[in-house]
């Protein structure tokens, strides 16, 4: 008998593994009727997940951590047993901002690019406004980290606003933001429409970062059908990672029910081809990927990294209990039990852009080295 699983998603290229599982038959082969529900915002996705209106969700990696820690919302214990995609985000700036930065950087080194941005930002009154997708997102954390590395305080020197991904391009067009950090294909779409330029990618900042995960409520994680779902997703991810399948995958994702974006833009993203900076095409095969380098295996370090960023920017008071809970969200037990054949071995990724390594075993020491922070007490004083 076919079992129904309902998954919520936000229209982004990295919902590809779920879409492939449904549209290319991997879910059906596993005896599952995988129903995909499009969400207008991350807040709406979170509410439907936490109240059990959907069985699982395509979620920002920090989202199940925030839910588990009860930050910004009610506390709901969650797990992230499968990483749906690594990488895929980028920072795009408006035409005007790009022109002002142009003399000061060649747009090849994120540190130098950041400093060029900082020089412009210090001259601007009112301050520059950047869009990101949600308070608990890599977009927020990557942007903050990158700005801080260039000497800009993300809570004082610029304004950050949360905007759902599909509305990001229009916000740039309307002049509501000077730039944004968003997932694919929205950066490429802004470039294609001549509204802005991509100046830095997530794959440059933090190579191989867990970007989207399958999130479930822990109370229901032991349901048998999730084992079959993970097996279907494993097969779908392997298929989606194969360049020969990208044109078919792009045709699924382009449909109005999913992204409703031209197929060729999606295909370029899948191939890691971006028009970057001054207009040169950049080719980074690991810009966004779904399966290789043991992509799907959750790693405790991914949860801890999100925890560390929450603490750095005052979303959360540091505690050992919270640190442990964040690591547990990315426990790999369910993944290993469901796809025991998957290899967990990886070659070490390139270091982050600032060469500051993240030591999962000593988060407090990691945090101490950053001069620029927003302590929890400061963030929560009226």
């Amino acid at each position: 008998m076919t079992e129904r699983i309902v998954a919520a998603f936000v229209p982004l290229v990295d919902c590809a593994v779920l879409v492939a599982a449904r549209e290319h038959g991997f879910a059906a082969e596993a005896g599952l009727d995988l129903v995909l529900v499009k969400e207008p915002s991350w807040a709406s996705l979170r509410d439907h997940l936490s109240l059990g209106h959907v069985d699982c969700a395509h979620a920002l990696a920090p989202l199940p951590v925030a839910l588990t820690l009860g930050v910004g919302h009610v506390h709901v214990d969650c797990v992230a047993p499968f990483v749906l995609g690594r990488g895929g985000n980028a920072v795009t700036v408006s035409k005007r901002l790009f022109e002002e930065m142009q003399g000061a950087t060649s747009f090849t080194d994120p540190l130098e690019t950041g400093r060029a941005l900082a020089a412009v930002a210090r001259r601007r009154v009112p301050p520059l406004t950047f869009g990101m997708v949600f308070p608990f997102s890599n977009h927020n954390y990557d942007l903050r980290y990158w700005l801080a590395a260039a000497g800009l305080h993300p809570d004082r020197d610029v304004r950050l606003v949360a905007i759902p991904p599909p509305l990001m391009v229009d916000s740039l067009r309307a002049g509501l933001v000077d730039g944004f950090c968003v997932g694919s294909p929205w950066n490429s779409l802004a470039v294609a429409q001549g509204l802005g330029s991509i100046v830095v990618t997530q794959s440059q900042l933090f190579p191989r970062a867990a970007e989207k995960v399958l999130a479930l409520r822990r109370a229901f994680a032991d349901r048998e059908h999730f084992v079959r779902l993970l097996q279907a997703l494993d097969a779908a991810a392997a298929w989606a990672d194969e360049p020969a399948n990208h044109s078919v995958l792009a045709s699924y994702l382009a449909r109005p029910a999913y992204l409703d974006v031209p197929e060729e833009i999606i295909a370029a993203v899948l191939g890691g081809r971006l028009r970057f900076g001054v207009g040169a095409e950049m080719h980074d095969p690991d810009y966004l990927y779904f399966h290789r380098h043991a992509a799907n295996a959750p790693r405790e370090a991914d949860g801890l990294w999100a925890y560390a960023q929450m603490v750095r920017w005052g979303q959360l008071a540091p505690s050992e209990r919270a640190e442990k809970a964040a690591a547990n969200v990315f426990g790999s037990a369910l993944y290993r039990a469901s796809v025991p054949w998957a290899s967990l071995e990886i070659t070490a990724p390139a270091p982050p852009f600032d060469h500051v390594a993240f030591p999962p075993a000593d988060v407090p020491a990691y945090l101490r080295q950053f001069e620029m922070q927003t302590p929890f007490a400061v963030a929560h004083s009226a």
Partner: protein
């Protein structure tokens, strides 16, 4: 300190739903002291924080599906000037009422310190008004389709009268009997009859 009336802000692009809700809140949203709340409505999503800041509401009611919620929640997190409203979920005191709100498609943000009974009475009114709006939409839809059904049955009768040279009553009886025999609705049968007749007519014209 002078006590000001409770301020409720409705953020909704749908003017009809907002009006229904506004009216309900004015009538039933009174506090224990019988004082009526002040109800404001924002329809434009641009420049939301400044607009909200100008109203300085105690309670914000917004459609669950509204994409501006991500923007709102983040603004509430970072804004240090305004009083910081929190999503109603954060207070777990009444999970049944939260569940009912989500089912109705409502999300609410409430500033700290507001009495729970007051929030609950506002939420209850909002939920029932959202449901009332849905029912209204539904009835409107039904009325529209009933009218369309009647029109299509009239057309089908006319076709039968012309083709078979029968009376209007006979045509209707024939339609009803056939529908019953085939276990279909009369309107459904009439629709296929009209469609078939249109096809045949086109065929004849092309001959």
């Amino acid at each position: 300190m002078t006590q000001r009336p409770l301020r409720i802000l409705i953020v909704d692009e749908n003017a009809v739903r907002a009006a229904i809700l506004e009216e309900g809140l004015r009538v039933a949203g009174n506090g224990a002291d019988g004082e009526a709340p002040e109800v404001h409505h924002i329809r434009e999503m641009a420049n939301l924080l400044a607009r909200i800041g100008a109203v300085d509401p105690d309670v914000i009611l917004i459609d669950l599906e509204n994409p501006s919620r991500d923007t709102l929640e983040q603004m509430f997190q970072v804004s240090r000037l305004a009083r910081r409203p929190i999503a109603m979920f954060v207070d777990k005191s009444d999970s049944a009422s939260v569940q009912a709100a989500i089912d109705a498609g409502v999300s609410a943000y409430v500033v700290d310190g507001l009495r729970k009974e007051r929030v609950k009475s506002i939420l209850d009114v909002t939920i029932s008004r959202f449901h009332a709006f849905d029912r209204l939409q539904c009835e409107l839809q039904q009325a529209k389709s009933a009218l369309e059904d009647r029109k299509i049955v009239e057309q089908a009768k006319a076709i039968l009268m012309r083709q078979r040279g029968c009376s209007e009553d006979d045509a209707y009886v024939l339609l009803r009997r056939t529908a019953m025999n085939q276990n279909r609705k009369i309107a459904e049968l009439a629709r296929s009859l009209v469609a078939a007749a249109a096809l045949l007519r086109t065929g004849v014209e092309h001959d």
